[in-house]
Symmetry: C2
Subunit: 138 residues, 2 copies
């Protein structure tokens, strides 16, 4: 099995939403997802290579200003490919890509279930008592 | 005293860093700040109007993809202008601006000292157990 990371290969948005749904993210309108991808700082696909039927099995993206702040969103590895370190490799790939463009601090909002995953990779939870805050439009 | 919000008026970066330092943010190289502002989704200045010497007394900016995610950074109101609701007005202005471009969820990382400030304006702290995570480059 050959796996390929790519920042440039285009996404089939239906396949992407299926991947995100497989790890429990709620569905979002394709039109909004397309615009969000177009305006992301970085988007990374992890592909299972197959000359005829390549499959998207992992994904993550970042927003940010490209220098002071970068925030990671929509991290997913398809459940049947989990447990073999791909999530860790995906995050390492993203951090290396951000480092190369000069970003020295990266942030994310971690679900309770993945806090230990990020901690194990050197992420600091709630540094200096920071709390994450969400605001939702009515 | 006339106060003006603006998304378009250019910033004197030295004045901006002085403002941010006045509320305790650590200083950052001007070159990096300029690039970060250039690539921010939204940047808002709060100006004390004066035809000869306008003063920057408040600031905030957002990064994001412009539709699914927007994150607020560098919120500041100069200490001598605090306590009269300007911070609240600044946040309301930002949320309204984001709402107008179609953003329905906004996020931020709150210092311990301002958690109650955001809570009082309808922000939800750590929804569904979310934790904020930071990664720093070596």
């Amino acid at each position: 099995m050959t796996l390929v990371f790519s920042q440039t290969r285009p996404f089939d948005l239906v396949e992407l939403e299926q991947l995100l749904a497989s790890v429990g993210w709620s569905r979002r309108p394709v039109r909004r997802v397309r615009r969000a991808l177009d305006h992301s700082l970085l988007k990374v696909g992890l592909w299972r290579h197959d000359s005829r039927f390549p499959r998207l099995i992992g994904f993550a993206r970042c927003t940010g200003d490209g220098i002071l702040e970068a925030t990671v969103w929509d991290v997913a590895v398809h459940p049947i490919y989990q447990g073999s370190g791909l999530g860790k490799k995906l995050m390492a790939y993203i951090l290396q890509s951000l480092r190369e463009i000069g970003v020295r601090r990266v942030t994310l909002f971690a679900d309770p279930g993945v806090v230990s995953f990020y901690k194990a990779q050197g992420w600091i939870l709630e540094p200096r008592g920071h709390k994450c805050a969400f605001w939702y439009a009515n």
